[in-house]
Symmetry: C2
Subunit: 484 residues, 2 copies
């Protein structure tokens, strides 16, 4: 006879497999698929989403949970049941019709956004954005019976337990403390990026990743239009990057994706094939990518490793010069190419605006103006066009509201974890100068990765660092950059 | 309100999507996946198979079919219902326990086969083979309530409507008529393969495929240990081949895989996302690959195209010499590298032996001896070891009985189709000398491809060629090879 916990675990393992298939199909679409396969792939992903939803929201799961919640369970099974209850209830609250409408609106919205950005004409995007906002509110309504604001409900899809109120306060202090640094940076001239050929970048990235454990037995490194990470189980990890002639972005973005990948690979094996066996939230995930991008790749000691790999690939550059380029601060218009100091300010603006849009405090038609005002206030520069302003990101076109904050929260947590780690195991300078990262990997595995979804964002930060979410470590990290 | 035909079509479309996912996951496993991802991929494929089986055998499908079978339907919907009934009943006849046991035994059997072949020790494989045979009989028993032999039931999984009795007669005549040709070939010296470097083969294959319509918009060409074809919808086709230094196998195998691919791409678009929208049987599929391998790639006129592409890739070879290598006949031990004339005799032997094993006329322990006798009788050569004898193919280790015949039947149908086509649209020599294949593609689309699964093997052959399955066209095709 199969016990309820066995039935539940079997279903959860099945949902892990379906998620793995979804990741494979999406990875393939972005990396391997011939272009004309797109419409068929859309059907396949739609079917997969429908089946996953059906099996993840089935009434029988509630029945098993009902039986289990009254019974004696071990520590691990208790956590499995606790998260299964949360996921099941959240998923069931959204009616199938609304889910279908959301998915259609998001596809339409991305298309409208693409056209509007191409034409630099916000009016072409406004109706789709208005529809996405309306549907996001309807979606939020499904989760409001415990009170809270609509934006709060959306946030919890990405970061359970994070409070919009507290984020508002935190981001307020962050922009206040960054403000004088931004002003100082504006007074300095621009730093030119070294013009590294694409092919040299590719060899440098491959060699650097190999040094920190990326082997062919359980990794792939590919090229895609936008860098991302996919994992089909803990021993099949796939990172992508892009190599544009004449820049060094791939050196940072490959380490960034490595951070996401390492997180998923180091979850406690006992949690695999359960609902606890993956990263716990968007902001913890982003903290892991930012830790490797900001605190390893931009570390002055590790710059020596990067410079030596560049040299081996045929491009000579003094480590100090490379480091200067990697940490150069210059207020700019585009988030994805922003420097490490001003990057979170781009997020603060998006958070303010999307929260106001969802809560009804900002009309869609007023968005472009509010964007210009915000960039002027936070970065002190003028926005010449909506394509370089409120039309630059795909997120709102695709109906993602509440996702942006994790990018900034990730920066903060990364800095806080790094400081804690160096306090506990000593400064990393000597090891990083040799390209040695095993102790960093181990510390992260113990303090962050192994927990999987057993701890939510804030409890995880508190347990790993001994204090609540803070902005000071990040300020301490970026302050020196204005005088490099 | 959703009508029964809408419900049925929706479910069938879903099954198409699940099959597409299965193909993607298998293609990825063989072409892209890092090796250590294998065990997780096993879980994923198992889950996918279970869900597909569950949704393909659900009682509700029977209910919809019951309603539809009494009602007025268009020609297309009638065929959809007819095939849905057949597939549903065949799938439901196999109990879940037996399906699970089969799948486990096949995985074990492949592993045992791998070890036994490596050690050249049949005894290490015999127990697994015996278990596979026993389970294959149990599986066949599920389909026997209409009478027929166990082997017949197995055959129908791959080629519905093909009769084991008739195959026996056909293969008997085939080996009789090939026998004097084989004897003649044995009297001639061996023909040496031109030693084309792997890199030259790769460029030649790419250029040749490009000339016959393989473009990046809807195709991929990759490398794998064994050449195969996968399709994720009609505009996402993926062929693989391998490039071993010093041979020309890739020139033939890439055209072979192209034939499989073209079949799936040219099914009538009206059948897409239904149960009729793919190739109808293994032997028709193999006829399409063999048509391009035997009748195009080995055509003396097309050899000029191949030679010119080889020259462009830096390898000079006279067309006549290339042609001689492509059609050289020499009885040999290994099926996959057999010449076009003796190839079907390898299949005749496997058919005789697997039929006898299943029907209880041959004991597992007697297989190695029966194999040696058969090779001596059919090809006139001695088998020095079981690794080069009855352990050479993976099929029986994986529990595939009834699959082999399609390889030979495909050769016969290809020759029969080619003769019919040349009678109808004229000899292809002039067009093939220029690398022009559009008329061949069109003829195949009209006569074979567009039907999808609407016609089974034999009715399709009869409708396309005006006569029943014959061996004479194949004999006429291969006879000249012994004197090239």
């Amino acid at each position: 006879m199969t016990t309820p916990i066995e039935k539940l675990r079997r279903r959860l393992a099945e949902l892990v497999d379906l998620a793995s298939l979804e990741m494979l199909a999406s990875w393939d679409q972005l990396v391997m698929m011939p272009g004309e396969g797109a419409s068929e792939r859309g059907h396949v992903l739609g079917t997969l989403a429908r089946i996953t939803h059906e099996r993840g929201t089935a009434q029988e799961i509630g029945d098993w949970l009902g039986e289990l919640e009254g019974s004696e369970l071990g520590e691990l099974d208790s956590d499995i049941v606790r998260l299964a209850r949360r996921d099941w209830e959240r998923a069931r609250r959204v009616p199938a019709d609304l889910a279908a409408e959301l998915s259609e609106a998001h596809a339409d919205g991305q298309e409208a956004w693409r056209i509007a950005r191409g034409e630099d004409d916000f009016k072409l995007f406004a109706p789709a954005l208005a529809r996405n906002i309306e549907l996001a509110r309807a979606y939020a309504d499904c989760h409001l019976d415990n009170g809270g604001s609509p934006y709060q409900a959306l946030l919890e899809d990405f970061d359970f337990g994070l409070r919009a109120e507290e984020l508002g306060t935190l981001f307020g202090s962050l922009s206040e403390q960054l403000s004088p640094l931004v002003a100082e940076a504006r007074g300095r001239g621009p730093v030119r990026e070294p013009a590294v050929p694409a092919e040299v970048q590719q060899r440098t990235v491959a060699a650097t990743l190999r040094r920190i454990g990326v082997d062919e037995g359980s990794w792939r490194v590919d090229v895609s239009a936008h860098p991302f990470t996919a994992w089909m189980g803990p021993r099949d990890t796939r990172v992508t990057t892009r190599y544009d002639d004449g820049g060094i972005e791939s050196l940072l973005s490959s380490l960034h994706e490595y951070g996401h990948a390492l997180y998923e690979r180091q979850v406690d094996p006992a949690l695999q094939r359960t609902n606890l066996g993956s990263g716990t939230s968007m902001s913890i995930h982003e903290s892991q990518s930012k830790l490797w991008e900001n605190h390893v790749a931009r570390h002055p000691a590790f710059t020596g490793v990067l410079a030596s790999e560049l040299a081996r690939a045929g491009f000579d550059l003094a480590p100090a010069e490379l480091h200067r380029a990697l940490v150069a601060v210059e207020p700019s218009l585009i988030r994805v190419s922003a420097d490490p100091l001003t990057y979170p300010l781009h997020i603060v603006l998006r958070f303010e605006l999307e929260r106001a849009l969802i809560e009804g405090d900002l009309a869609v038609g007023d968005l472009p103006g509010a964007w210009r005002d915000g960039i002027r206030r936070l970065l002190g520069i003028e926005v010449p066009s909506d394509a370089l302003g409120c039309l630059q990101d795909i997120h709102w076109g695709g109906g993602s509201f509440g996702y942006f904050p994790s990018y900034a929260v990730g920066c903060l947590i990364a800095a806080q974890l790094w400081e804690t780690m160096e306090l506990q195991i000593g400064p990393r300078d000597a090891a990083l100068a040799l390209g040695e990262v095993a102790e960093i990997q181990d510390w992260l595995a113990q303090r962050v990765h192994r927990h999987g979804r057993r701890l939510d964002t804030i409890p995880l930060v508190e347990q790993a660092t001994g204090s609540s979410l803070q902005i000071e470590p990040f300020i301490r990290f970026v302050s020196p950059f204005v005088s490099v």
